[in-house]
C-alpha cells in the first residue's frame, strides 16, 4: 500500500460494541432509521401498548425533526429525541389520566428504568423480573399469568382456582404492591 492511500486496518478478535454512525448521516432518513426503534421502545415501556406507542412516536418525530441539526453527533440526536419523548409522554399522561408524569416518576419504583441509558434494552426486563420476584407468591403468579403469558382474567382465575372477581381484585392489589416496591430493587 502506498503512502497516498488511506490507512487500512484489518480488525481481528471481538471489537467492543461501538455506536459507529457512518450510516446515520444520510439526512433525516438516516437519523430516523437509526433512532426510531430506540424512541419507540422508550415510549412503549411507559405506555405498554402498541396503539399509544405508535401515536406518541409519531408525535416525537413531528416535534423534533424540524428542530434537529442533522450534522450533530448521533448520541446528541438520540438525547434530543429522548428528551422530546419525555415531553410527549408527560402530555400524554396528563391528557389520559390527569396526572403529572414527573410527579409519577418520583413516586413510583422504576428507578432503573428512569436512570438507565435508553440503549439498555434489558433494563426493563431485569426490573420486571425483580418486581415479580419481590412480590408474594399469589401476587406474582397473577401478574405472570396476565402479563407474561397473556392469560385473560377468566383463564387466570381458572388456573389459580379462584373466582374471576377475586382474580380481578388480586390483580389490582398486585399492581398497587408492585408500584410501591422500594427503589433498592435492581
Amino acid at each position: 500500500m502506498s503512502d497516498e492511500q488511506p490507512a487500512l486496518s484489518i480488525v481481528g478478535g471481538n471489537p467492543a460494541p461501538s455506536p459507529f454512525g457512518a450510516t446515520v448521516t444520510d439526512g433525516w432518513e438516516g437519523v430516523y432509521r437509526a433512532t426510531v426503534i430506540l424512541v419507540y421502545r422508550y415510549i412503549y415501556a411507559r405506555v405498554g401498548n402498541r396503539a399509544d406507542a405508535e401515536d406518541l412516536t409519531t408525535q416525537v418525530y413531528l416535534r423534533a425533526l424540524p428542530r434537529l441539526r442533522l450534522s450533530a453527533a448521533i448520541e446528541e440526536i438520540r438525547s434530543y429525541l429522548v428528551a422530546t419523548a419525555r415531553t410527549v409522554l408527560a402530555d400524554h399522561w396528563r391528557d389520559r389520566y390527569d396526572v403529572r408524569v414527573d410527579a409519577l416518576e418520583e413516586s413510583i419504583a422504576t428507578p432503573e428504568i428512569r436512570r438507565s441509558s435508553p440503549h439498555d434494552e434489558e433494563a426493563g426486563v431485569r426490573r420486571a423480573g425483580a418486581i415479580l420476584g419481590a412480590l408474594p407468591d399469589n401476587y406474582r403468579r397473577v401478574l405472570e399469568l396476565r402479563f407474561l403469558r397473556g392469560y385473560s382474567l377468566r383463564e387466570t382465575a381458572a388456573e389459580l382456582k379462584i373466582t374471576v372477581s377475586n382474580a380481578k381484585v388480586m390483580q389490582h392489589r398486585a399492581l398497587r404492591r408492585a408500584a410501591a416496591l422500594p427503589e433498592e430493587l435492581p
Binding site: I37, T57, T58, L62
Partner: protein, 222 residues
C-alpha cells in the same frame, strides 16, 4: 376497591390487546399502578418492538412533511398535525382489518434491495487476497471511517458495512455459522447482508468492491 379494580382491569385488558386504555382521572397511587402495568407489559420478550409497517409508514409520512416544509420555507419548519392523523388513521385501519404485521413475520420479498454506499470522492484499497477468502469466510476491515466486511458468500465476493442496522453496533463474523452477529441485541445477518429472523431490520449497505491482481479491493472515502 371493586370499582378501582374494574377500572384497572380494563386498562390491563387494553394493554394486553395492544389497544389504548380508557381515559379517566387517576389518583396518584392508581396512576403508579398503571405505570407499573405498562412496564410489566413491555417486559414481555419482543413486545416493545415496532412493526415494519409502522416504521415504513411513518418514514413515508415524515418524508411528505419534509418535502412540504422545504416547498414552503416562509411558513416555518414546524410540521402539521395532519400527518399524525394520517399515520394514526392508517395504523387504526390496519388494526381493525387485522393486518398489522408482527415483527416476527419476515417478508423478504417486500424488503428493498440493499443500498450500495459509494463515496463522492473515493479510493480503492486492497483488503485481502482473493485466495485467502474461501467460501463462507470473511474479513473485517476499518479504513477512512468505514467499518466493513469483505465476505465470500457461496463464491460471490462482496463488501458490506459492519454496522448493525438496528442500533449501530459493530457486527462480529461468526465463522461457524457463516453469518454476522450483533453483540448488542442479538441481531444476525446472512453473508449477503440480509437480516436473519428480525425482518424489520434493513439489510447491511453494500460497499463498492472489485478484484484487482488477485486482491479484493474496497472503495472508501479519499
Amino acid at each position: 376497591m371493586s370499582r378501582a379494580a374494574d377500572r384497572l382491569a380494563r386498562v390491563v385488558d387494553a394493554l394486553l390487546h395492544e389497544r389504548k386504555p380508557p381515559r379517566f382521572p387517576a389518583e396518584p397511587e392508581e396512576a403508579a399502578a398503571l405505570y407499573a402495568a405498562a412496564a410489566l407489559k413491555a417486559s414481555r420478550p419482543g413486545a416493545d418492538l415496532p412493526s415494519r409497517d409502522f416504521i415504513a409508514n411513518l418514514e413515508r409520512q415524515l418524508g411528505a412533511e419534509v418535502a412540504r416544509a422545504e416547498a414552503a420555507p416562509g411558513r416555518g419548519r414546524r410540521f402539521t398535525r395532519r400527518t399524525l392523523l394520517q399515520v394514526c388513521g392508517a395504523s387504526a385501519a390496519a388494526a381493525v382489518a387485522g393486518v398489522l404485521v408482527d415483527r416476527a413475520v419476515t417478508r423478504p420479498e417486500a424488503r428493498p434491495a440493499p443500498t450500495t454506499m459509494v463515496p463522492t470522492s473515493g479510493r480503492w484499497i486492497p483488503v485481502v487476497s482473493l485466495a485467502a477468502l474461501a467460501p463462507g469466510q470473511g474479513m473485517r476491515f476499518s479504513s477512512s471511517g468505514v467499518e466493513g466486511f469483505v465476505v465470500n458468500h457461496a463464491g460471490n465476493v462482496q463488501a458490506m458495512s459492519a454496522v448493525c442496522t438496528h442500533m449501530g453496533c459493530i457486527l462480529r463474523f461468526n465463522q461457524r455459522q457463516a453469518r454476522l452477529d450483533c453483540p448488542c441485541h442479538g441481531a444476525s445477518f446472512d453473508l449477503d447482508g440480509s437480516p436473519l429472523a428480525r425482518g424489520y431490520l434493513d439489510s447491511l449497505p453494500r460497499l463498492a468492491s472489485r478484484v484487482r491482481a488477485d486482491h479484493v479491493e474496497v472503495q472508501v472515502p479519499a
